[in-house]
């Protein structure tokens, strides 16, 4: 089985980092994985994004035309990806920074007030972890949250206990928010 996830947002919102975390977790979990960023500082401005593909066999294309799962951290990302998500796909978006609701009926659109939640947790930079938590909740077959937590510790610069704890809370908070939002949606 193959899962694909696009993380999209402003540069600085940590989308590349979130994607890498997922990639590490998948790798640790014994799966095939690719992480592919939009690249090149020759393109200034606009959104940054990355595509993570997780699979139990060799991965062909590291990019997808119609992603199954999209995490959109800002309004432009919602604008860009809403039309692209695969039918029946998942679009989790940061409702705190999105001015509109979705229009496509054939996808699962999940609003998460992630910026606010991050602010509540005391650090806006936790935004990406909150959204990651939401993803794990809603597309949970990708990898178990425990694997992601271990990956956080092993591969990312989050070995310090406080940081790790914060990130973990963010993941859990994301899961909880998603659980709620998913139920509503």
């Amino acid at each position: 089985m193959q899962y694909d996830v696009v993380f999209s947002g402003f540069g600085g919102q940590g989308v590349l980092y979130a994607g890498q975390l997922l990639a590490y977790a998948a790798m640790d979990h014994g799966l095939h994985v690719t992480w592919m960023p939009s690249y090149g500082p020759e393109m200034r401005g606009g959104t940054a994004n990355c595509t993570v593909i997780v699979s139990d066999e060799d991965i062909g294309s590291p990019l997808v035309t119609h992603p199954t799962n999209v995490i959109a951290l800002n309004n432009p990302s919602v604008d860009k990806y809403e039309p692209l998500v695969a039918q029946g796909g998942l679009l989790i978006y940061n409702a705190s920074l999105t001015s509109r609701t979705l229009t496509r009926p054939d996808i699962r659109g999940i609003p998460i007030h992630a910026s606010e939640a991050a602010a509540e947790l005391g650090n806006l930079r936790l935004l990406n972890m909150i959204m990651m938590g939401a993803l794990l909740q809603l597309a949970d077959a990708i990898v178990p949250i425990e694997v992601v937590e271990i990956a956080l510790e092993r591969h990312m610069a989050t070995r310090h206990a406080e940081l790790l704890a914060l990130n973990r809370s963010a993941l859990r908070r994301g899961m909880a928010l998603a659980n709620f939002a998913g139920a509503v949606a």
């Binding site: 402003f10 401005g45 800002n74 432009p76």
Partner: protein, 82 residues
Amino acid sequence: MALKGRIVIDTERCKGCELCASVCPHVAIHMSDTFNAKGYRPAQWADLNNECTGCASCAVLCPEAAIRVYREVPARAVTTTT
């Protein structure tokens, strides 16, 4: 008393670099709390003390050419021509 001035900032063009604000001798420019469509917090003219002289320093420094500066001029000549 110095001549009076005022500025108009094209807030959609503004990228919130704060350079205009930094250079205004009268602290007449502040950064907005809200975002423009591009996601920047644009500069706002807030000449609270009515001190803007139209010196144009802000406009001279604005990399986005987003500021128009008006300055009072004695009007007599103007009235005769138009």
